[in-house]
Symmetry: C2
Subunit: 374 residues, 2 copies
């Protein structure tokens, strides 16, 4: 894309808060360059002029791009080869309420081609995760990563951090989407994680370098996590947590919402259980099940666990009938078992010997009984 287009988008992203639907609408209609020129000329435009007036003074898109370059950040915009076109769904009708517009562009720190996010799943959840939640998020993310599915999350404590850890352990791609500039480290304790992602994968934000996180920016950021990925997995989310906001975005974008259950006694699982009960989320228990949901038809097939194969499955119908007549508790003699099973005594005696050979029944002086309490 042209440098003018890129500069105009950088400038506009400084003028309005992320996801401003008015700005997104104007840019879609008139183009970023025209909208930018109008606002620079202090012309009123869809009610934006008043709101952005205070910010116009400090605009320096050229300087922003130069500084970003020195920080190792690039700015990817629609039309670039690397633009993740799945974000365009944020503009699709019917219009999504609130801060729903597509981003003007993405600041990216790290070598990962964003095209790789076409096959990605977001893994989100509570900051105050339990060890159970963190462990499950990490395992699930490792499975996704190993199968070539990138992981998308935030950079918070708890599930976000566990998701990245798991994906890295699975030697796959993982991406943090921030609610502040992609150059910033928030929370500060995650410096080494973010530096690692910035060196090996990608740290992404629609906010210009240096921008601080605010609640509004977290909410806007959540729509990007949902829109970048094929599905959103929620692992532990208390009622009213930010992860549920991401799940809602995924739902509005018609992306599958998946929920990992937990103990009903655990508050961090409450929000997930509510999503499942409300029919918003599908229950998943493993990365394999997630892959099955997002894969192209037949691409990832999960074998439903069927429990250990029972010796009983390999019996003839007659043997099964006899076995069903053998007492669980106190032993019975063959004639009594024959009455219970409704079969002839000779037949029953033969079957009992066959069952004993398979270790399914035991014989004592008092008669036959099942070998195991099942």
């Amino acid at each position: 894309m042209s440098d003018a287009e890129r500069r105009a988008r950088v400038a506009l992203s400084r003028l309005a808060e992320p996801g401003d639907p008015r700005l997104a609408g104007l840019v879609a209609e008139l183009g970023a360059i025209v909208v930018h020129d109008h606002l620079l000329a202090e012309r009123e435009l869809g009610g934006l002029q008043t709101d952005v007036a205070a910010r116009l003074a400090g605009m320096d898109a050229e300087g922003d791009l130069e500084r970003a370059d020195r920080l190792g950040l690039r700015y990817v915009i629609p039309g670039d080869d690397d633009w993740p076109t799945q974000l365009d769904d944020l503009a699709a009708p019917p219009p999504v309420q609130g801060r729903g517009g597509p981003p003007l562009g993405l600041w990216v720190r790290g070598p990962l081609p964003l095209a790789q996010l076409t096959d990605s799943v977001s893994v989100v959840g509570s900051r105050s995760a339990t060890t159970y939640g963190a462990e499950v998020a990490a395992r699930l993310s490792a499975t996704l990563a190993r199968s070539g599915c990138a992981v998308v999350s935030g950079a918070a404590f708890g599930i976000d951090q566990a998701a990245h850890r798991g994906a890295l352990a699975g030697e796959g791609a993982t991406v943090a989407v921030l609610a502040c500039g992609a150059d910033r480290v928030y929370p500060a304790a995650h410096r080494s994680l973010l530096d690692h992602l910035g060196a090996e994968c990608a740290v992404i934000s629609e906010l210009a370098p240096g921008c601080s996180p605010t609640r509004l920016r977290f909410l806007a950021r959540n729509r990007l996590i949902a829109a970048l990925s094929r599905a959103t997995v929620v692992v532990e989310a208390a009622v009213r947590s930010g992860a549920l906001n991401t799940a809602n975005w995924a739902g509005r974008l018609n992306r599958p919402v998946l929920g990992v259950p937990g103990p009903v006694t655990s508050a961090p699982s409450e929000g997930v259980h509510q999503l499942i009960r409300a029919g918003v989320a599908t229950l998943v228990t493993s990365g394999e099940e997630v892959l099955e949901m997002v894969g192209a038809s037949g691409e990832h097939l999960v074998e439903v666990p069927r429990g250990r194969e029972h010796a009983r499955d390999r019996l003839s119908l007659r043997q099964q009938q006899v076995l069903d007549g053998v007492p669980v508790a106190s032993p019975a003699h063959a004639d009594s078992i024959a009455r219970t099973a409704g079969l002839g005594l000779v037949e029953v005696r033969a079957a009992l010997s066959q069952l004993a050979a398979r270790g399914l029944v035991d014989k004592s002086e008092r008669g036959w009984r099942l070998a195991r309490d099942e």
Copy 2:
């Protein structure tokens, strides 16, 4: 009902295994007395004669009833005031496959009127329950019992035992349905539990006194648990557990199947998660949610947990906009917040003071920031 009818049903229940669909069909068509007379006369009847021949010799319905009376058992049959008519659903078309017929009668030990089971829920699950599963089953059953909903279960270790314990703690009715004679104690370790239920509530079986448990009888018993109750709750069930058999019966009878989730790392929860994923069971997390599912419309209403009410909910729109512009991490001055929020400086200063008064923002020399990391 007539003594002849009662004696015929006792005799027939001795002749065939529980739930034999051929016998159930013949009894529905010809009446128990006629079927009994035919079989006694060694006349062939729907293929039954061969199977029951070995048992005909030992028949003594009169003696059975007398012995049962001495043991404190009564035999309830269709047409009796106390007959739980919901069991008749087992005969309803479309015919249920396999051992699906309604019972010929129920042997009952204990004072509980079976009519009370019209408002009952079965709570079933794994014998090798975890402490989590047992605790949740007990709590849920206590809630049911306290609200006047009877609990139905088996008498096994694990979830069955926990369900009865919970219902008794909730000072409600609870009933054990056995796969052996209602006079027998199986497992032996549950003598005091079964004696207590026999003295205060009810122990039920379609098998004549003295009968031993077999696998076939457990499977047949499961249909009674499902058919007696309005809904079946599964708390922990490994893949291929007997509890899933009960759940399948409930589903075939169009009774709601409810599943309590657990950690995805816990094998005893796997079967429940599969039921929920397959759309067979609805996820429930509490007795209140169970009551909501089975209650008459509006009878039991559950308040969806909404998390603690946020101070933010009580703010004006303007105050919220300002709050959303306050940095989470490093503080910012009012003019910077005004730019972020897209609002005038005077307005923002006023709002910041109001927000500080509510404890939502903190002011330092370096500026304003959110009071709490949310």
